[in-house]
């Protein structure tokens, strides 16, 4: 039965870490018949840029707020308390800009952003959203609809709003995340959990899709990212022990998306806006590169091993790195043991760049592709909190901010690494961006859709 509604509806399926290039390959190989069907029906697959740094916490926050980290304030999973080397884990409470569901649901409170400013007057702010499993949304804040937080979600109850939604999720054995610690020692058990977590998510998505009223529905699958971290080398290697399982996971996702797409189009009489997207791409990891070891070798970083985490930073440190490759100059006034004066910062940045660009592996392959400065990347009130430099690596080199390694190059248990340039997005073909798509653009497309002054039709 077709329901024609006054308000339009929008369905977003988020696929954490699913690359454009892999979808393209798998469609060609015939593994993803539903994706193929959707694309032949007037939709277009875009390659999309993720945020910098291309970690889930930052990139998803860019997606949900539609602004850059300089405005939303999330630069990684971990950050330092102002004026100290004490680590903390930014939560949803640290996001400085309103999310799309806050903007369309009337729960912006006193936050502001450039995007909100642009839509403030034209948006209907009584719309209801279902938001499932987006990373960096813990703890769940009251909103108009239902939200259950994605990675990291230490407590499903605190991560879900309202409580009746938690009760339902709890009743079906929904898990916020699989136990990735199992992947190395018990890969089969880990993979079983990955499949089972996907089924629980699909079940929950169906349930809320059918039993709740909503205008915006965002369901994110994060198991793809977990699978990729440990088994991305299996994606294209037919001889790999887990290749078939890897492909069968994608086939299952294809079925789930195909079913949701059909039901969504039935529900909206073909009038709804459907979108899939990812927060970054993935490629095969060849070597891990420990930037802090390099900084130590170059005399930029001094460590006191008696302490822990970033409190190990010792007198005489000029720069340090946090995951994945956020480099901070140890500036006087900004940090307790700051040793670089404001006028001297420029020189330190130049020295750092010189060292980083010349970094190569044993075979002479250059590691660093691009080095960005804070001012190139971030605009907004939180820019000062951001790193002074962010490095982007060539494919295969995974840059790490750990302080625990002595050597510069190594290889752990991971076989996949994030890429910034190879995120994907499927959008109706009539939405023309004119430029290469960036994850920060998507919130604007969503708000435009709900706006009275919509600039295109579906």
């Amino acid at each position: 039965m077709i329901h024609m509604n006054d308000t339009p509806k929008l369905l977003v399926i988020g696929l954490d870490g699913v690359p454009y290039t892999l979808i393209t390959d798998y469609i060609e190989k015939g593994y993803l018949p539903n994706f193929k069907k959707i694309l032949s029906g007037g939709f277009r697959l875009h390659q999309m840029d993720a945020s910098i740094p291309d970690v889930s916490s930052t990139s998803w926050t860019s997606f949900m707020t539609g602004v850059n980290p300089g405005e939303h304030g999330i630069f990684g999973f971990m950050d330092l308390r102002p004026g100290s080397y004490k680590i903390y884990f930014p939560s949803s409470r640290d996001i400085q800009a309103p999310t799309i569901w806050d903007i369309i649901g009337g729960t912006v409170n006193n936050r502001n952003s450039a995007l909100y400013g642009a839509y403030k007057t034209s948006i209907n702010n009584r719309l209801r959203s279902i938001v499932l499993n987006i990373p960096q949304t813990y703890p769940a804040a009251p909103m108009n609809g239902i939200l259950t937080a994605g990675f990291v979600c230490p407590d499903l109850k605190k991560g879900t709003y309202p409580e009746y939604a938690y009760n339902y999720l709890e009743s079906i054995g929904y898990v916020p995340d699989v136990d990735a610690a199992k992947a190395a020692e018990e890969p089969d058990l880990f993979l079983k959990e990955v499949f089972s977590a996907l089924e629980k998510r699909a079940l929950a998505y169906d349930y809320f899709f059918d039993n709740e009223s909503w205008d915006l529905f965002i369901g994110v699958i994060t198991e793809t990212d977990r699978l990729h971290h440990f088994f991305f080398d299996a994606a294209r290697d037919q001889g790999h022990k887990y290749h078939d399982l890897f492909v069968s996971f994608y086939k299952r996702i294809d079925e789930i998306i195909g079913r949701l797409f059909t039901r969504f189009m039935d529900k909206t009489g073909g009038m709804g806006l459907f979108m899939t997207m990812s927060d970054h791409g993935f490629t095969v990891l060849r070597q891990e590169v420990y930037i802090n070891s390099l900084l130590r070798e170059g005399g930029f970083l001094k460590i006191n091993k008696q302490k822990e985490y970033f409190e190990q930073i010792d007198t005489g440190t000029k720069a340090f790195c946090m995951d994945p490759a956020r480099i901070y100059v140890n500036l006087e006034g900004r940090y307790p043991l700051g040793s670089v004066s404001a006028p001297g910062k420029k020189d330190v940045i130049r020295e750092l760049k010189d060292m980083l660009v010349s970094l190569a592996d044993n075979n002479g392959n250059p590691v660093i592709n691009t080095i960005c400065e804070n001012g190139d990347l971030y605009q907004g009130p939180s820019s000062d909190k951001g790193p002074d430099l962010v490095c982007l690596a060539n494919d295969g080199f995974d840059l790490k901010g750990t302080l625990k390694k002595e050597e510069v190059f190594g290889k752990g248990q991971f076989s996949g690494m994030h890429t910034r340039y190879d995120a994907h997005c499927i959008l109706p073909g009539n939405i023309e961006m004119g430029v290469r798509l960036h994850i920060e653009n998507l919130a604007g497309i969503i708000l435009n859709y709900f706006s009275k002054e919509r600039t295109w039709n579906t």
Partner: protein, 267 residues
């Protein structure tokens, strides 16, 4: 019957029932207010002389006041006190600064307890947990089976209707018995007042701060409070709406987050 007497009767019934079912039983005493109240109830249930061992899992990181309190009352009340420690990890200098806090808890508490249970062949443990302490504990049963890996299969536990407790378990399992599950934090303090149960000085305000929940010194934070007597604590709780374990909650979330990030190669 008065409210506290009803609660007390229920607890004493559970304690006696547990002892009747399992002769290889012991109680866990953390020296905190709940397990000290449980200890008091066990003494009452057996007329002053507890017929089973009392286990203190010692991480070596407890407050000095807690060790003093433990030794003083173990002697005064004639307890058969067993101190359980994970000696291997203590020698290896495990602590909240080494590895994650979750690893520390796991080694110095969980594994120390596992070893102690194995060493003494215990089939059941009496614990002083309460239903209102934490979300997950709302699912606890009075008689709660644990498997050989210590896993609590909370979706597959026997129903407890009309006080019909199920207290038999498979060979490898041990039972956890929770005689004060039905009491709230406020009930505990009101009962402490009625019975005049001795409590660690850490609970009472000194220089504007007191501990509402005590454990290992590095992982506990005091709250702002001027309550320096049981009466003052009761009146503070009657008007408070913050969670009892809030001092510990953030630490636990951080430990979880850290472990999650590590498992994906961050940190």
């Amino acid at each position: 019957m008065e409210h506290l007497t009803i609660l007390e009767n229920k607890s004493i019934f559970i304690i006696r029932e547990a002892y009747y079912r399992f002769k290889d039983i012991a109680m866990l005493w953390s020296v905190g207010k709940d397990s000290t109240t449980l200890l008091w109830l066990c003494r009452k249930a057996f007329f002053g002389q507890i017929p089973f061992p009392v286990i203190h899992i010692d991480t070596t990181y407890k407050f000095p006041e807690m060790y003093r309190f433990r030794d003083e009352y173990a002697k005064k009340w004639g307890l058969n006190l067993i101190v359980g420690r994970n000696e291997g990890q203590i020698e290896a200098a495990m602590g909240p600064g080494k590895g994650s806090k979750l690893d520390c808890c796991n080694e110095l508490k969980t594994n120390a307890l596992k070893e102690t249970i194995g060493k003494y062949g215990l089939k059941a443990l009496l614990l002083g947990i309460r239903r209102d302490e934490h979300g997950i504990r709302a699912k606890e049963r009075v008689f709660s089976p644990r498997d050989e890996n210590f896993k609590w299969d909370y979706e597959n536990q026997p129903a407890e209707l009309w006080d019909q407790y199920k207290s038999t378990a498979a060979e490898d399992n041990h039972f956890r018995v929770h005689p004060i599950l039905h009491m709230t934090e406020l009930d505990i303090w009101r009962y402490i007042k009625r019975e005049n149960i001795p409590m660690s000085e850490l609970y009472f305000s000194k220089e504007g701060k007191r501990y509402r929940s005590i454990g290992c010194a590095p992982c506990c934070s005091p709250i702002e409070s001027n309550a320096s007597s049981v009466d003052e604590i009761i009146s503070e709780l009657e008007t408070s709406n913050t969670s009892e374990r809030s001092g510990r909650a953030q630490d636990k979330e951080d430990a979880y987050t850290m472990q999650k990030l590590r498992s994906l190669g961050y940190m």
